[in-house]
Symmetry: C2
Subunit: 724 residues, 2 copies
């Protein structure tokens, strides 16, 4: 998929502008249109007309002369002009023929609603879908679907879909776009509910099986669309990590946030992985890490999509985590601070001039603490909100303002909304109750004026958290250097080290590969006899470790192939013989190269660094504390490779075990800089040799005290099978 | 607080029935009633009348003859009869005088609305509040408040409060009670929003500073109330663990669920704890554990309170985690299964007879898989819901039914609601969209018919999780034996071991205390000279460990007071001298009893067991993997002591590190039974000696392979200061 995409990459810039004709066609044909509304083709035609589409509609159905007052044509070939977009609602077996007709007359875009392909049609369905994909590539027809529920364009008034969510008066266009594979989740849970919450939508597209046009194509279009300020995505399958990354970078340049609900989390999480590091890099943790790296806000439910959009659409990025709150209810302030603090927010003291200004506008207030209790002073004094918010907006201690309302007068809510619009710091109203003088006034009415408003504390805090992370992402993006290849990283040398041998490489080869990227290695040599082993040991003037070297024995300890702390020549000789014997007994017929002799490493903290090749995102680097932590505690941090030193440092800070690197209970701090450097180097190795390295596992890398460095104590590289 | 309560425990059974007069008084006086509605006393009087209270109201205010058509009295002494309940809305300084007047004429209940006491009145406010507490105790007047917002009784039509949430037509009474300290959070976020979601409320009470009547008193009343089926609590401070436990046990007997939002989570979590184990047992994790033990469902936000009640009020307890789902939207099913699986739910295959029945009622369906796609077959076929639900209810593979609706016809929703009511397994409708033929129909209308309905997937899954845990709790409660004191637990011997010495006891004393409760100990003896040490070592025929014994040196390693693996008499003698020297240098003037000599313990997994005395819940036991896990990974499990063997085993299963006890990667399984026994014994020690032991820390307890047992390698007991 990625490869076939890459070959047509040059065509993508035109595509996203060409999609104008997809979303706002001058004329549309609907193949399979029919009468009434009980069948799909009839409902779809009805919705298009009722939605107020102003272009030309060509119903296609040989059984009718006319449908809903429109001339009906027997086939696409009969049309008086080439439509910009053709909808296809014919049986699965007939779809390919219709698409060929589209290509014959030069139609640029087709949407296939019909189901029964890869999603439920078995082998035959999959084969038919593959045919559609080939047709799209070969004949230049761009196809959405199959098994999709079409497109809605509130800006230009075009809808080709059956969804009941657009029945009735057309809702006003807004600045939030929805891109979804699922029709129900995109149209109902996300678009319809966002509109019910007072938000406006620019476009909704439900692209189904995505045989050709996919969520990233539509994302690309939304990034360029001037009116769209926030893009909400519901994605079952990310078609390509690199394409998503390219789109996300363009979105970040425009400061246009992307919020994504990624379905299939648990299915993927539970997917059994064959190999050891493969099991660690379960896909969903990679998705999590990759989306964070790209500044894409990942959410868990559709409600979070539009709640997040509620704040993001104002395009005010907070500078930090410091909130000012006004409240008529002490308990509500406690609840907000409680949930806020658990999510990293603080309510700092105001600056002196702010306290002064608040005291002036809230004369009954003893002291202007934060949260600021406005009980008995704010009621009926709507003017105080602009004074309070102005003072808070001018306070350098405050990044975001969250006024609380419970049962409130409409005048107060209106005054607060106006005050919120007039300043430039982010404001989120938390309105947990109703309106005292106008019971029908609801949060959606406040939201419709453009002001973020939440009715639940946790939802408010969660959305503020996403906003904060996005602001952090934009700042980090501007200030941090991007990852650059470290000195002494020699891809050619690494490839030479991997040349020859099978797909699983010995510890010694693996260390050579790492050394080619500048990772420090302990001295050591291969002994093929007990005497050689003793001679090597004598060089090191220290106790030594002996380890079997065999491409057939990746797990040396299990094979009785490791002996540590040998101090005398006799002990070394004896150990050599024992190891060779154990290994031969463990795996008769295994190729035994000999025994690796190394000095015992200095004391330190054992960590792991691993690489896997994720099918979506490519090379992924993982690090964590070694030993039982890897498998039992799962205290691991992931990133798509390569990473900068800043990013590597952020990975380490994510670990619960970071305290051990800093030094707990009087223990010496570890050499974090050297570990960061090692992570960066391994990440570049993964990036540069992504076509060779399937998996790499440094376990452990020993981290000395600050200034002492790190040592690779064991490493294992797996490469692709020859010819695979 | 606990102690003073305990002495009046005999009065509690009558209190909860006496509270009838508090919630449904025959007559009420309001001291501080006034005209209009701009002031508190006027609003409160107005709400009471508008709510339709049918009893006698006595406004008390010397400035008026009449208020709102009611005779107004100058003082309580002037009343023609003794009111059942007196509301107090006078300035803080005047409150005590009014309460004395209440007591003078024999009023049973008073509610003090006035603020400015402990919550904001400084030292003077705290002192005045303490006076009210003394008056309540001394004169038998039961007082709610101060700084509260009163009571609402929808069943009998009595409200004494100012909240705007009850303005307008009185809402019908329901089966959900709300007990809150905060007025705003209880009345607005919980009660009003529950009603807005279609639920009915029986009582709401906001008890403020809780100087006398507190949340547990009101909880007790609600447990006895026949109409109340679910109790929602918003609690800032749990007044007493033992009283809460007693109430929770009564509630469990009646299968009446309690759902609690505990505020102040982060404040408590961040509270610095002076001592080591104290820091581990941060209060909030104890609250978490204690509430779980008591079957109280803890939630994080007020919305979760009524969402949880939505399901619990039907009193259908699922037998397990297996869900059946019908859906018109594939994407919505994926979202539900995704979030459900992450929360422990499964969607198993139907039994053959269910598949048969579903195929009969859904003829177009190829195969009746779960989730069951009803696209294109269910629309306009409302009858299918009763057939489907009946079949699913009869299926032994299914515990709970969750039908999904998106944009749906009112007839379908009605048919599904009726079908849901007619079966006895739990049903939760997940309705993510709107109604196609009646746009004003909303989830609240379905909920008002008694059927659980959710509009957000995550909220649905979360509430199902709470329901499942409550069902598990009820079953476990019936089937498990309660904790009983193990054999060979000798409180007197433990107390004797602690007699003498200061508040921090030596390892040897600590082991004697543990031995009194039957914990196995390694052999060992105290040596006061190098020769004695060597003689002791010779007895053990194995390498030995030497450790300094000093009541002044709790952390022996830091003092250079530990030497391990000594195999020869000379090594033992030399180590003795070194240890004594190091210890003397580390802490000049420390009392050095000598050196403890013990054989090296067998290999095993090092765990910790600790005890703390929680101010609310009393003795709390904690366990986890030793070493860095304690402080860095925080992989710990807590319970209020004592615990049964089942509960101790559940603690271990909670640990991420449980896999290590079971044996990972070919490692031998550990002696979990012996560890469970040790936890039970320590928990009883904590329970029995709660007045003596402030803290106990076994670090580590070494766990041998299955059948080998456990060994206490180090232990430290702290007791209360003499005279403290």
């Amino acid at each position: 998929m990625v490869t076939s995409r890459a070959s047509s990459a040059t065509a993508e810039a035109p595509l996203r502008s060409a999609l104008d004709r997809f979303f706002a066609p001058r004329s549309v044909a609907l193949v399979g249109a029919t009468e009434g509304s009980s069948r799909f083709g009839g409902r779809c035609l009805g919705r298009m007309i009722e939605f107020g589409y102003a272009g030309t509609i060509f119903p296609i159905n040989p059984r009718f002369q006319e449908l809903r007052g429109l001339t009906c044509y027997a086939s696409l070939a009969d049309l008086p002009q080439v439509p910009d977009h053709v909808g296809v609602v014919v049986p699965a077996e007939a779809v390919l023929g219709v698409l060929n007709e589209c290509a014959d007359i030069g139609v640029p875009f087709a949407t296939v609603f019909t189901g029964g392909f890869a999603e439920s049609g078995g082998d035959k369905g999959r084969a038919m879908q593959a045919e559609i994909g080939r047709l799209a590539r070969d004949r230049g027809l761009r196809v959405m679907g199959p098994n999709c529920n079409g497109v809605i364009n509130f800006r230009d008034g075009f809808a080709m879909t059956t969804t009941a969510t657009i029945a009735g008066v057309r809702k006003p266009a807004g600045n939030i776009a929805v891109v979804s594979q699922s029709g129900g989740v995109g149209q109902v849970n996300t678009m319809w509910r966002a509109q019910a919450a007072g938000l406006g939508v620019s476009y909704e597209v439900s692209c189904g099986n995505s045989v050709d046009l996919d969520v990233i194509d539509f994302l690309d279009f939304m990034i360029d669309d001037e009116e769209t300020k926030v893009i909400l995505m519901v994605v079952e399958h990310i078609p390509s990590g690199p394409r998503l990354a390219a789109a996300a970078h363009r979105a970040a340049e425009r400061e246009k946030p992307i919020v994504m609900l990624k379905l299939g989390r648990t299915e993927e999480g539970g997917r059994a992985a064959a190999s050891h590091t493969g099991a660690l890099a379960a896909s969903d943790v990679v998705v999590d890490a990759a989306l964070r790296q790209l500044g894409i806000i990942r959410v868990n439910d559709t409600s979070e999509l539009y709640e997040q959009a509620m704040l993001l659409r104002t395009r005010r990025w907070p500078r930090g985590n410091r909130i000012a709150t006004t409240t008529p209810s002490g308990g509500n302030a406690v609840l907000l601070v409680d949930l806020g603090a658990a999510n990293g927010f603080t309510w700092p003291d105001y600056q002196p001039q702010t306290r002064q200004r608040l005291a002036e506008c809230l004369p009954k207030l003893g002291s202007a603490t934060n949260p600021t209790d406005v009980t008995n002073v704010a009621i009926g004094r709507a003017d105080i909100y602009s004074a309070c918010f102005d003072a808070m907006a001018a306070d350098d201690n405050i990044d975001t303002i969250v006024p609380i309302f419970t049962m409130s007068a409409s005048g107060d809510l209106q005054a607060a909304s106006e005050a919120a619009r007039s300043i430039d710091k982010p404001v989120a109203l938390l309105w947990t109750g109703g309106c005292t003088d106008n019971p029908s006034l609801a949060a959606r009415d406040v939201a419709a004026t453009g002001v973020p408003v939440f009715t639940e504390t946790m939802a408010c805090v969660r959305a503020l958290g996403g906003l904060k992370r996005y602001g952090d992402f934009l700042r980090r993006r501007q200030s941090s250097p991007s990852a650059s290849r470290p000195a002494n990283a020699d891809p050619a040398a690494a490839k030479r080290a991997l040349a020859g041998g099978g797909s699983v490489h010995t510890e010694r080869v693996s260390r050579d590969v790492l050394a080619a990227y500048g990772l420090p290695r302990l001295p050591g040599g291969l002994a093929t006899s007990a005497d050689e082993a003793a001679a090597l040991a004598a060089q090191y003037k220290a106790p030594v470790v002996l380890k079997i070297e065999s491409p057939d024995i990746p797990h040396k300890t299990e094979a009785g192939g490791v002996r540590i702390g040998l101090s005398t020549p006799d002990a070394v000789r004896e150990a050599f013989d024992e190891i060779m014997g154990s290994a031969a007994a463990y795996k008769p017929g295994a190729v035994l190269n000999g025994v690796l002799v190394q000095p015992v490493a200095p004391a330190g903290l054992d960590m792991i660094i691993g690489l896997t090749n994720d099918p979506t995102f490519g090379p992924v680097i993982v690090t964590g504390i070694g030993g039982i932590h890897v498998e039992v505690m799962r205290d691991l941090a992931y990133r798509v490779a390569p990473v900068s030193a800043d990013e590597a440092r952020a990975m380490l800070r994510e670990l619960k075990a970071y305290a051990l690197l800093e030094g707990v209970r009087g223990a010496k701090p570890r050499d974090i800089d050297a570990l960061v450097d090692a992570i960066v180097r391994v990440s570049w190795l993964g990036h540069d040799l992504k076509d060779e390295i399937v998996e790499l596992d440094i376990n452990p890398i020993r981290v000395g005290a600050a200034g002492e460095g790190v040592w690779v104590l064991d490493a294992l590289v797996s490469t692709a099978e020859r010819g695979a």
